[in-house]
Amino acid sequence: MDRNDIKKWFKSPDKMGDKYSLWAIYFCTGCGIIEIPPVITARWDAERFGVIPVATPRQSNLFLITGYVSVKTLRAIIRTYEQMPEPKYTVGFGSCPINGGMYWDSYNTIKHLDKYIPIDGWIAGCMPRPEAIFVAVTHLWTLIDQGKAKAYVKYREKYGLYRKNQEMALGKLDWPPLYTTGGGND
């Protein structure tokens, strides 16, 4: 541990705790998931950064969306995201979830992931290298430190709008709303 951080630990232990315990949900979509095994295993060892993959959304607080998202995957992504306990952080990975990437005119991939769930940060590239993931993680630390990684709060506040978008893409959703308040709901 960095000695200079000790002050921070005393000042806001919760933030420091969040920063160094990022549990990433092991959710595979698109080409990008190929980068994840070397990242989390011995080669690049994500655990140095406190990132460990976990199997279920209920134990995780970091959601890496690793590539293009088809309409069918979107349904799973929303369900997964909603099951994660707060505080939770989302990172879109690769150009596909950012703006469609090379699937920009595909009939079946959604182009902008942030229309459906809120995103804390993006990693551009097709495909980003594992190093880029660590850069993103350190950026996420900064955001958490500054109190800016608040996408989950936004989701709560504007849930109505998000839900409306989700329903536009997927039709009637067969699970009840996560929140009953928030933009568009009231």
């Binding site: 309409v71 069918k72 182009k111 978008n165 933009g183």
Partner: protein, 184 residues
């Protein structure tokens, strides 16, 4: 090997064109009513593996082309006595494992119907389901032509050449607003 197969085929089936572009590949263009019998012919010969069924949209000719790719795990598998003692160690016959058979047929685009190949190769089920979903070809006798991959309904099946993906993206995905813009 492949030439023997070619001669065999030509003597049995009349209305087909066969070409063998490579030593281990046979391309057969057949009329649609002959497809199942030809598949059966190959199956009886020991071609036990239907690798895939695929479809091509020839929009200018107003036809769909169905392509059956058949291979084999058992036919011509090198038996011990076939492995000769020449320099390479394996005789040409033994090395030949049956190759790939590409069986092509055309069906009308206006009325895209065909019969299922499940009675011959059971694993054609998912392929036909996929072609039904993406090209809108109806396979008679298929037990469940329900959606396989797609989540939404499309007016024109999306793999047809006249499906305008850019229009679709504009009319559908681009219509969904960004949450930030919506608030204003």
């Amino acid at each position: 090997m492949i030439s023997a197969l070619k001669n065999d085929l030509e003597s049995i089936f009349k209305d087909i064109q066969i070409s063998a572009p490579e030593d281990d590949r046979l391309i057969i263009n057949a009329q649609k009513d002959a497809v199942l019998t030809i598949l059966k012919f190959f199956k009886d010969k020991g071609y036990d593996h239907l690798a895939m069924i695929s479809c091509t949209d020839w929009i200018e000719e107003d036809e769909f082309e169905l392509i059956y790719i058949v291979g084999s795990y058992s036919v011509y598998a090198p038996a011990a006595e076939d492995i000769t003692s020449d320099k390479s160690g394996v005789s040409k016959e033994a090395a030949f494992n049956g190759g790939n058979i590409l069986l092509k047929t055309r069906i009308s685009r206006k009325d895209p119907r065909f019969i299922t190949a499940i009675p011959v190769f059971e694993n054609s089920e998912p392929y036909e389901r996929e072609i039904h979903e993406l090209f809108g070809v109806d396979f008679k006798g298929h037990p469940r032509l329900t959606p396989l991959f797609l989540e939404r309904e499309y007016k024109i099946p999306p793999f047809r050449k006249d499906f305008d993906t850019r229009r679709y993206v504009k009319d559908f995905f681009d219509q969904i607003p960004f949450v930030e813009n919506k608030e204003k």
